[in-house]
């Protein structure tokens, strides 16, 4: 249709019309450009002098003033993370003459390495001439003094003071505090997504890990703004308007430095972790993961060689074992399992079974061995916890079944995040039929239940979960959430963490708690208890439980022989305990990787920590708790 119309159109008339319009347009464009040029002529030629003066003399620049990051204290007010002034030497190339000659002079004066000089020149090549360029980072005070005395010889060179994060205790608090480091592109994206670009203007650092990351919001602060007049070299002449930055909030942690350092000391070279927590508040008094590393390396910018060393080390120092280490809980959960057996009426307080040293799943030939080859003889629940009898719990867990175990144990926090104020945490695994189906696409077997019944098999926990579960046990079912932050210094009163699980665990008979706790007390107080030696003659009463977790599975008839095994295949030693037994105040968990038996290796560490707490720390801080 359109085509037909084209054929009867008067093309030459249309072309002429179009040409006329184009001509009009062209004239209009010439006029418009003429208008622009007139205006530009006015700006650049007629008013040149006035604008040149304004350009030279009156420059108003808006600068962002970054806030100081909040400090972090331990519960006694000792600084764990501070901001230290560091000095750097910089050069505005435009202001200097004979740059190379001056740099050479400095090279002798300040012992500049060839590499540093090289780097400076390469930075200079790309940076703009008015921008100050870094020559030397982190000058010592002597170097600063030396330069300042001779400053008149170095026009254009200047010392700049900056605040840098510093962790005075090095590797002792890394797994609690984390660290801050240079903002990278991933952080930038997150900042943009949160619409906080303005907050991070003028700042190069952000919390990357631990408390520094978790409480970034509190610690960072708000940048200020300064409107300044600068001269033609960019030097500030006077400040016109100043909105001061709001510094980040100083925070106080529940961590007790004495206990923390002691725990780190006690661990020595052993891989493992220690957690000490207040059972009444959930405040974490000590959280150590060994080995650790120096967080200051990351603030300065760690070299890739050093970083790879940390990353690939067999000891995995970058992992926070206290919250990310997944271990079979072994016998440390026997009290909870006993509670469940009592509550489901699988056993009573007086039920006794005969332990020949092994147990067979009814209707099968599969034999489960007790750690005591010759057996414990006649055992009731009290005895079974005190002496950590496996056979008793094989039988009980067979009767309980996984479907009752999973929901009960979840109430103690197993298989869930503890709610600790650290970003680095894993849920570990509280297995169930559905979990095994999803994970391995296999049905649940009775044998699986039996292993889980003594804290082995598919069940894994983190030390922080174990601490929380033991605290809940000590509190007879009242839920408690561990947390590290004690308070914000400028705000009165302790910080209340958001409650995660608040419904207390209800048993059919409150007396069951007493049965389990009494047995736990027996572990450390009775001659027959597995850990009585470690807790002999304490000035306070203790309840505890050992755990010795197999790292590799031992075949049915094989004997466990620590000496024959390679170091990484040896058992994990674990111990959980709280004290005092009657009125619990603190709870502790120790996990030592590949260290052997729990009672003999892990329990003495808790003993030392409890002694430290009750004899040295508590008397001093009576009022603060």
């Amino acid at each position: 249709m359109a085509r037909k119309r084209v054929s009867i159109r008067n093309h030459s008339a249309e072309s002429a019309l179009f040409m006329r319009r184009t001509l009009v347009v062209f004239i209009a464009i010439i006029c418009a450009i003429g208008g622009l040029i007139t205006n530009l002529y006015y700006l650049q030629v007629s008013s040149f002098e006035s604008f040149q003066t304004r350009s030279n003399d009156n420059r108003i620049s808006v600068q962002t003033v970054p806030p100081n990051r909040g400090l972090i204290y331990d519960r006694n007010g000792i600084v764990l993370a501070e901001n230290r002034p560091v000095y750097s030497l910089q050069v505005v190339v435009k202001k200097t003459k004979n740059l190379r000659q001056k740099v050479n002079k400095l090279r002798n004066m300040l012992d500049l390495t060839d590499e540093e000089v090289e780097r400076f020149y390469s930075r200079n090549r790309y940076a703009r001439s008015y921008r100050p360029i870094l020559l030397l980072d982190q000058l010592t005070t002597e170097e600063v003094a030396l330069f300042t005395v001779n400053q008149h010889q170095f026009k254009g060179f200047s010392i700049k003071a900056n605040l840098k994060r510093y962790y005075p205790f090095g590797d002792a608090f890394t797994h609690v505090l984390g660290y801050i480091a240079k903002i990278n592109s991933k952080d930038l994206k997150r900042i943009e997504a949160k619409g906080e670009t303005a907050r991070y203007r003028g700042t190069n650092f952000i919390g990357k890990l631990g408390i520094e990351k978790y409480y970034e919001e509190l610690l960072h602060g708000q940048p200020g703004q300064r409107q300044v007049e600068v001269d033609s070299w960019g030097k500030v002449i006077r400040v016109l308007n100043f909105t001061p930055p709001i510094p980040g909030k100083d925070i106080k942690l529940n961590i007790d430095i004495q206990l923390q350092l002691k725990a780190q000391n006690l661990l020595g070279d052993t891989r493992g972790s220690v957690i000490v927590m207040d059972t009444r508040t959930g405040g974490v008094l000590s959280l150590v993961s060994n080995p650790s590393y120096d967080p200051n390396l990351f603030v300065q910018g760690i070299s890739s060689k050093k970083y790879n060393e940390l990353l690939n080390s067999r000891d995995r120092p970058l992992i926070n074992r206290a919250t990310q280490g997944r271990y079979p809980p072994a016998s440390t959960i026997k009290m909870q399992m006993a509670l469940l057996a009592l509550d489901t009426k699988v056993i009573t307080e007086h039920t006794k079974i005969k332990d020949p040293g092994w147990w067979i799943v009814p209707g099968s030939k599969r034999r489960f061995r007790d750690w005591k080859r010759w057996g414990h003889g006649e055992v009731d629940v009290n005895h079974a916890i005190e002496q950590s009898c496996d056979t008793f719990f094989y039988d009980a867990s067979y009767k309980i079944g996984i479907d009752r175990m999973n929901p009960f144990m979840k109430q103690f926090g197993f298989g869930e995040y503890s709610g600790l104020d650290l970003g680095e945490e894993t849920k570990a695994i509280m297995p169930s039929r559905e979990w095994k189906r999803a994970r391995y696409n296999a049905p649940w077997y009775d044998g699986d239940t039996i292993s889980v019944g003594i804290g082995q098999g598919y069940w894994t926990v983190t030390p922080i979960q174990l601490t929380q579960a033991t605290a809940i046990l000590a509190r007879k079912g009242e839920i408690i959430t561990p947390h590290i932050l004690h308070s914000i210094v400028s705000e009165a009163g302790a910080f209340t963490p958001p409650k995660k699980m608040t419904v207390p665990i209800k048993l059919n008979d409150e007396h069951y708690w007493d049965i389990a706790l009494k047995a736990m007390h027996g572990v450390t107080s009775k001659k027959t208890g597995t850990a009585h030696r470690a807790f002999a003659k304490t000035s306070y009463s203790v309840a505890g439980k050992s755990g010795t977790a197999q790292v590799i599975s031992i075949k049915e008839d094989e004997e466990y022989d620590a000496d024959k095994l390679k170091e990484h295949q040896r058992d994990n030693a674990m111990f959980v305990a709280f004290a005092p037994y009657e009125t619990p105040e603190i709870v502790a968990t120790v996990v030592l990787e590949n260290a052997g038996g729990g009672s003999s290796n892990a329990a003495p560490i808790i003993r030392d920590l409890f002694d430290e707490y009750f004899e040295n720390i508590k008397p001093k801080q009576q009022l603060d708790f």
């Binding site: 159109r9 319009r21 418009a32």
Partner: protein, 365 residues
């Protein structure tokens, strides 16, 4: 016109116009020089974008005009639908919804609309004898207004102005009666209060207010314009020299690599540099209008004319805004500013011009 073999040069066979290419290359050189001065970091990414834009131009130049005409309605309707989609699902960046996320990439449908608008209006108009009647003109206006409002709603004032003007240019070039034009202008003037009170965002209003009196708020809204004027003015006749512009080097100027790049250029190359730049622009515009006049039918003439006029609008609005004549609406300086999409659309437009110039539908003997 007799076409001989000699006329069919290598450029002609590649469907490239050497004169336009020369102009474009000169602008690119100035662009890279200025960007290097702002920060050498911009040079390589800009080169990559220029490469992509050049490829787009060459591809567009290979497509014969008939194909453009045939696909116009489809592409236009898809584009309008995408604009609607942006309003509903769009990505918000800097307080405005402009981006459409396709999963693998994000892009701005309004950029495509800038390119397709003249085609749509020309397609409609060229079905009738020129000059078209009033009733048809109204329909053509509707084609212009709907996408313009959709883009203005995002809100993207700069782009909506460019889209609207590219459509209106077609109407104007098609020879619509001066009487109608007069009436339309009067109507627009009447519309200004409505725009001011109901359609403009607060930040757009501040920009307009600042335009009239930037000195009233030298540290706030007027800061950018004052700094830009100081940069241009202090450049003088000869400029401060390449990489010597204190206003830009000391970071008094905002958006130095994008919208305010003209200020950097003026500060460093002075009035003489500006005259050179404007001469290149004028040369490209002249060549474009020439191509439009030589085009063979109404559709191609109108499209070509509108593309080149839109190119001029870019330049006029940008220079006008940084030198304090127009409000700051966020239009980049054509082919000089850093940035991907605008360069691609502009060069794709030039590709269309080249196609029209080198594909002749029928040989007149």
């Amino acid at each position: 016109m007799v076409s001989t073999k000699a006329q069919k040069s290598i450029f002609y066979r590649l469907h490239i116009d050497p004169w336009l290419l020369l102009g474009i290359f000169s602008l690119m050189v100035l662009s890279l020089l200025t960007l290097h001065s702002v920060s050498p970091d911009w040079v390589v990414p800009q080169l990559i974008r220029l490469g992509i834009a050049m490829s787009a131009m060459i591809v567009m130049a290979q497509i014969p005009p008939e194909v453009y005409q045939r696909w116009t309605p489809t592409v236009f309707i898809i584009c309008v639908l995408m604009l609607v989609a942006v309003l509903i699902f769009g990505h918000t960046g800097k307080g405005a919804q402009r981006w459409l996320d396709l999963g693998f990439t994000k892009f701005q449908p309004s950029e495509i609309m800038k390119l397709i608008m003249p085609f749509a209006v020309a397609y409609f108009i060229s079905q009738y004898t020129l000059p078209i009647r009033l009733s048809k003109a109204f329909i053509a206006l509707l084609i212009v207004i709907v996408p313009t409002l959709l883009i203005a709603k995002q809100p993207d004032l700069g782009t909506s102005i460019l889209v609207a003007s590219s459509g209106l240019f077609v109407l104007f070039l098609s020879g619509i009666s001066w009487l109608y034009i007069g009436i339309a202008l009067a109507a627009i003037l009447a519309f200004v209060p409505v725009l001011w009170f109901y359609l403009m965002h607060d930040y757009q209003r501040t920009r307009v207010m600042t335009l009239f009196n930037p000195e009233a708020d030298p540290l706030g809204a007027g800061y950018h314009i004052i700094q830009s004027k100081i940069a241009i003015g202090s450049g003088g006749v000869w400029g401060k020299g390449w990489q010597q512009g204190t206003q830009s080097q000391l970071e008094f100027l905002p958006e130095r690599h994008t919208d305010f790049i003209f200020s950097v250029f003026s500060e460093e190359f002075g009035f003489v540099g500006i005259l050179l730049l404007l001469t290149i622009y004028l040369f490209i515009i002249g060549r474009g209008l020439w191509i439009a006049n030589k085009a063979q039918d109404a559709f191609t003439k109108l499209v070509a004319g509108s593309i080149i006029l839109t190119f001029f609008v870019y330049i006029f609005v940008n220079i006008g805004m940084v030198s304090g004549l127009l409000p700051v609406v966020g239009v980049p300086l054509a082919l000089i500013s850093y940035g991907g999409t605008s360069i691609v659309t502009l060069l794709a437009g030039f590709g269309v011009l080249m196609s029209f110039n080198t594909h002749k539908r029928f040989n007149i003997k």
